[in-house]
Symmetry: C2
Subunit: 352 residues, 2 copies
C-alpha cells in the first residue's frame, strides 16, 4: 500500500488571476483602486518591529476595540479573522452543524459550496429569480442554516433590509449569516438587526472598501452568544492567527473614517458613470451596489470580450458557468482605468 | 428548536498566558529573547504600504524562493503557512485520511490530539520511555500516519537522525511528519532525508529561532508530490492566507543567516549555563536541545515554584497533567532574564 492512498484528493479552486506583470489594468478581483488610509503607512513607519519576536495578542484587542467603537457594539460582539474567508469558513464549521441542508442562492460567492463540502455540511441552493433577486419564500423550508451575500456576488444586487429581516424572522431556529463584503459601496447593512436577532451574524472585510486585501482582515458582528461560540471553536485549534501588523494597521484603517468615506464615495461616483457609458455601448447589468459591474453585451459573447480585453492587458473576471456565462464581472477602478476600459470597448464594439 | 442546537461545542485550548503587563520576565511561550534580523525593520520602513490594497501573492513566491535557496531544495518542495500550527493542521487534514489510527508520543505538543479530533482522525499515543525518549519499535504497528516533534516538546529531548530514519523506513505506507519547531537550537534536522523518502514532511517555524512569532510564519519541506497535495487542499478552500508584510519581512529574515546563527548560538550558550546552575539548585531535567528547559525540583513541587515565580512577575509554563505535573517548562531568555530567574530561585529554594 502506498502513503498516497491516505491523501485527501480535492479539486483546487481557481482564483481570479493575480498577474505579476506591471502596467496592466487589474479589474478582476474587486480590489480597491485607492490606497489605504495614510495613517497606515505612518503607523508602519513608527512600529516597533522588534516586538515581532513575541506572539501577537491572541484576542486581537486593538482591532476588536476599534471595530466595536466604530460600529457601536460591545467588543464581545466582534470577531476578527485572517480575511473574511477565514471568518466565513470558521462560521460554517461552528454554526452549520445540523442535519438539514443549509441554504444559499444558486448564483453567489463561489466558496460556500466549497466550505460545505469541506466540513461535510449538506446544502441546497435556491435559484435567484429572473432579475437576479433572492426569493425570500425559498428560505421558509426546514434548513440547517442560511447564508447569502448582500449585495450579492457576482451580480452586485442589493436586497432591501425588509427582505433580509423577513428571511431572518423566518429562520429563528438556525443561524443566518449575511455576508456583506461589498456593503460599503451604497448598500444597507443588517448590523442594526444584530441587537434584535441573536442568531444573525454579519460578516464584512477590509479587502474591498478599506483597501487592505494585502493584510488579510475580515470580521463579523453578532450577539455575544454567537461570538462566544466562534471564539471557543477558534481557540480550540489555533490561538494565534492574526499577525501584529494586521492588528495595528487594521485598527488605524478603522479610525480614519473620513478617508474611508471619501474612498467609497469616489468608487460609487465612478461606478454610476461607468454604468451609463456601458449602457450606451450595448451592455446590460443588474443595478450594482458593489464595487463591480456584472455586465453582458447585447450581441458579443462575454468570453470573447474577456479575451480581447486580456490581450489589451485589461483583466476582468469571466466564469464559464451555467446562468452566468454571458456576463463578465468588471471591478470599478479609478476614473483613468475605467476610461481606458471604455475606450477599448468603444473601439472593440464598433469594429465588429 | 433553537439555533444553538446546531452549534459545534468544543473545549477551548488554554494557551500560555500572554500577560499585557510590562516589565515582566516572560519565559512561558518559548519566544526568542532577541529581536529579528535588523533588515526586517529596514525593509518595513521601505515597504510600499499602498500595495496593501492588492491581494497578496497567493503562492507566497518571495518567501518560498528564499526558503528553497536557504535549504537547497526546489521551490516546489516548500509550503508556507500562517504559523506552523496552520501548516500542521493542514497537513493533518491532507495526509491523515486513512482508517487506521495515526501515532504520536504520549507526552508531546498539545495540539496533535486537538487536530485529530477536529478532523475526526483516529489516533493512538505511544508512551515515551522512562528517560522521555521515543521507542522506535512503537511505530512499527499498522497506522494512518506518524507525527512527532524533534526535539520533542515540552521535554526538549532530541532523537538521533538514526532513530528518525528508522521510524520513517518502517512507515513507507503512510506520511511521517517531523515537527522541528525547535531544531535550530542544536538539533539535527531530518531535511537531508527528504530526498530519500517521498513520504517525509519536515515542519519548521519562524516563531522561535527566527524571532518572528508576531508575524505568524511556518513552513514545511518535503517531496514535490507531498507539497503538491498540500497546495491542492489549501487552494481548494482558501487562496489568500499569508499577508504581504509576512511574505516580505519573512524572506528578509531567511536571507540574514549571520544574524540567525548568532542569535541561536547565544541562546544555546545561555541554556547550557542555566542547566548547570539549575542542577546546583536541585533541579533535574532531560538534556534539552531546544530553547527551553523542562525542569523538576528534587523537593519542591513544580506547581508551588510556578506560583511563586508568577508572584515575582516571572512567567514560566506549568501543566497539571499526568506524567508531567512535577515539571515546569522554562524558556531560555537573555542572560539578564535568566540571572533574575536564578537569583529568585536561589533565594526561594534556600528559604524553604
Amino acid at each position: 500500500m502506498s502513503w498516497e492512498e491516505k491523501v485527501r484528493r480535492v479539486t483546487p479552486y481557481v482564483a481570479g488571476e493575480q498577474p505579476q506583470k506591471k502596467n496592466i489594468i487589474k479589474l478582476n478581483t474587486n480590489e480597491c483602486p485607492y490606497p489605504p488610509a495614510p495613517g497606515v503607512a505612518r503607523l508602519a513607519a513608527e512600529m516597533d518591529w522588534e516586538a515581532l519576536r513575541l506572539y501577537p495578542d491572541p484576542n486581537t484587542s486593538v482591532l476588536v476595540n476599534a471595530l466595536a467603537a466604530y460600529y457601536g457594539v460591545k467588543p464581545s460582539q466582534v470577531f476578527v479573522g485572517v480575511g473574511s474567508d477565514d471568518v466565513l469558513s470558521l462560521a460554517f464549521m461552528t454554526f452549520f452543524n445540523g442535519n438539514q441542508p443549509i441554504l444559499f442562492p444558486d448564483v453567489t460567492y463561489s466558496f460556500y459550496d466549497v466550505w460545505a463540502e469541506l466540513y461535510r455540511i449538506p446544502y441546497k441552493t435556491c435559484a435567484l429569480d429572473e432579475n437576479w433577486h433572492i426569493r425570500p419564500e425559498d428560505y421558509r423550508q426546514p434548513n440547517g442554516g442560511v447564508i447569502f451575500p448582500n449585495p450579492n456576488a457576482p451580480t452586485g444586487l442589493l436586497e432591501s433590509l425588509g427582505t433580509v429581516e423577513e428571511i431572518i424572522r423566518a429562520n429563528q431556529d438556525a443561524v443566518v449569516i449575511v455576508d456583506e463584503a461589498y456593503v460599503d459601496f451604497g448598500g444597507v447593512s443588517a448590523l442594526p438587526l444584530v441587537e434584535k436577532y441573536d442568531n444573525l451574524l454579519v460578516v464584512q472585510t477590509f479587502s474591498k472598501s478599506r483597501a487592505m486585501a494585502g493584510l488579510r482582515i475580515g470580521f463579523c458582528i453578532g450577539s455575544e452568544k454567537l461570538i462566544g461560540y466562534l471564539n471557543d471553536v477558534k481557540f480550540s485549534f489555533n490561538s494565534y492567527t492574526m499577525n501584529l501588523p494586521s492588528q495595528i494597521l487594521g485598527a488605524e484603517a478603522v479610525r480614519d473614517d473620513a478617508w474611508f468615506r471619501e474612498t467609497t464615495a469616489k468608487i460609487i461616483t465612478t461606478r454610476e458613470r461607468v454604468k451609463k457609458e456601458l449602457k450606451e455601448l450595448g451592455f446590460s447589468f443588474p443595478d450594482s451596489r458593489a464595487n463591480f459591474i456584472f455586465a453582458a453585451h447585447e450581441s458579443i459573447p462575454a468570453e470573447q470580450i474577456f479575451r480581447a480585453l486580456r490581450q489589451a492587458d485589461i483583466y476582468v473576471r469571466y466564469w464559464n458557468k451555467p446562468r452566468i456565462s454571458e456576463y463578465m464581472r468588471i471591478t470599478v477602478g479609478t476614473d483613468e482605468e475605467m476610461d481606458r476600459l471604455l475606450d477599448f470597448l468603444k473601439e472593440y464594439v464598433n469594429s465588429l
